[in-house]
């Protein structure tokens, strides 16, 4: 097999793993972000404090450190993760923590009249949050969330540190065998750039689709 044939076929396998990581961590991190934001704004003191603490902790640690703690330190406490799930967990927690700040800001920016009107109709707090507040806050937070997700796509490469055979790990491995860094890393870079572009376009489409007159982020 020629260099290119074997390189591309291995790289594709790695790419699939990367896509698997993202397919789980992107939606899960968005949900975590929403959940943390709601917990901080609407939770009682205890819940709000726990959520704030979680966000402060995750934002205070380099992602690498979080990842290594999950993979190497937690087993000492009897909590085991496979390399794949350690990476996915770290990415969800880190991205979710950052995303929650965009959502929290967006919730805070919604006029209090929206909440009063919901209450006046007889909505419960939960109904108000899910039907009135979050649909508006999510739209406002979307550009920020997009940012975090593009970032997540790029730092999914850190999964190589715990031995996940994803895109970057394969490229790095291949380079150590063949030492053709220009071909190997520029191809890899192109794939990441491709994914980031697809995500950007996809989220822009979503933004257009969810667009409502008067709710645009200016």
């Amino acid at each position: 097999m020629s260099f290119w044939e074997s390189f591309i076929s291995d790289l594709l396998k790695g790419w699939i793993t990367t896509i698997e990581i993202l397919a789980i961590s992107v939606p899960a991190s968005v949900l975590l972000g929403l959940g943390l934001a709601v917990a901080r704004v609407y939770g009682n003191r205890m819940i709000s404090l726990i959520a704030s603490g979680f966000v402060a902790l995750l934002r205070g640690l380099p992602l690498v450190v979080t990842l290594l703690i999950i993979f190497f330190a937690l087993p000492k406490l009897g909590i085991y993760f496979s390399p794949f799930w350690a990476a996915v967990t770290a990415f969800i927690m880190c991205s979710g923590a950052y995303q929650s700040e965009y959502v929290r800001g967006a919730i805070r920016s919604i006029d209090v009249g929206q909440s009063l009107a919901a209450q006046a109709l007889g909505m419960s707090k939960l109904q108000e949050i899910t039907h009135i507040i979050l649909p508006q806050a999510f739209r406002r937070a979307l550009p920020g969330i997009t940012n975090e997700i593009i970032y997540l796509i790029l730092y999914s490469s850190l999964a190589y540190l715990v031995g996940v055979q994803e895109l970057f790990a394969i490229a790095k491995h291949f380079n150590s065998l063949q030492f053709r860094p220009i071909e190997i890393f520029s191809t890899t870079a192109l794939i990441y750039a491709f994914m980031a572009t697809i995500a950007t376009l996809g989220f822009r489409r979503l933004e257009m689709k969810l667009r409502i007159p008067g709710l645009e982020v200016t």
Partner: protein
């Protein structure tokens, strides 16, 4: 409470924010089909009173009965109570992410758990009633202030409330848009929709108001038929207030 005809009864209501007493012993009754007007200088506690009445703000003392039920009782389900009270805000407070139709139907769908088709049918009927069925698909940002307020009235009506509270419903509107909102409110008053209206629109008060309560400094200082109070106020504060209103509206004689 024996009298079936009384929709709302308020007894000795008190509310303070910190050391500032906003309501100092408010009592009144609203009969079925009645339009009650509340007016008074700003800071007299009118908005606080309305918000206490549907428990958006908890009164410190006093009792409120809605259709015979003491809603100040802690065991009462506030959300159930609020379904029976329509509330129209000064700033409209339409849900910005929903069309006019959805704004009116969401209470029916989410709160009253009505089927979507049924809720939309009622919502459309209500929008028709306020003259906006052609604008059903528009978002709040695409409507004028007057149209927004009419949607807000339709939203309150859709829930088939026992009483509707209006909190200065025309104060945030440009003068040329006030008329369309007042027309809708007048039509409803003539249909005997029970309502409590905080307003400075004296024309409206005189045409459809059954009783006017004049509030000053957290108390009702004068009450009676709107025409009488507006033309011959007895109390000093009331005199001063209407003097100013008359001066303000002198050019647009009604």
């Amino acid at each position: 409470m024996p009298d079936d005809d009384i929709v709302l009864k308020v007894e000795d209501l008190y509310k303070s924010y910190g050391k500032i007493a906003v309501l100092k012993g408010i009592s009144f009754e609203v009969r079925r089909g009645e339009t009650k007007i509340i007016c008074g200088p700003s800071g007299s506690g009118k908005s606080t009173l309305l918000r206490c009445l549907n428990l958006l703000t908890r009164p410190d003392k006093g009792r409120i009965w809605l259709e015979g039920e003491d809603i100040t009782n802690r065991n009462v389900d506030i959300n159930k109570v609020r379904q029976k009270i329509g509330f129209v805000f000064q700033e409209f407070n339409l849900f910005n992410h929903l069309t006019a139709l959805k704004n009116v139907s969401i209470g029916l769908e989410v709160v009253k758990k009505m089927k979507k088709e049924e809720a939309h049918r009622i919502a459309l009927e209500m929008l028709k009633k306020v003259g906006l069925s052609e604008h059903a698909h528009k978002y709040p940002a695409e409507l004028s202030g007057g149209q927004k307020q009419r949607v807000a009235i339709a939203r309150a009506l859709a829930m088939n409330p026992a009483v509707i509270f209006y909190d200065e419903p025309t104060s945030a509107l440009d003068p040329q848009l006030i008329g369309e909102v007042l027309e809708v409110m007048k039509a409803l008053a003539r249909e005997k929709v029970t309502s409590v209206v905080v307003t400075h629109e004296m024309g409206f008060a005189q045409t459809v108001g059954d009783e006017l309560l004049f509030m000053c400094d957290g108390k009702i200082v004068e009450r009676g038929p709107p025409m009488e109070i507006i033309r011959k106020p007895k109390c000093e504060e009331t005199k001063k207030f209407f003097q100013r209103i008359h001066e303000l509206y002198a050019r647009e004689t009604r």
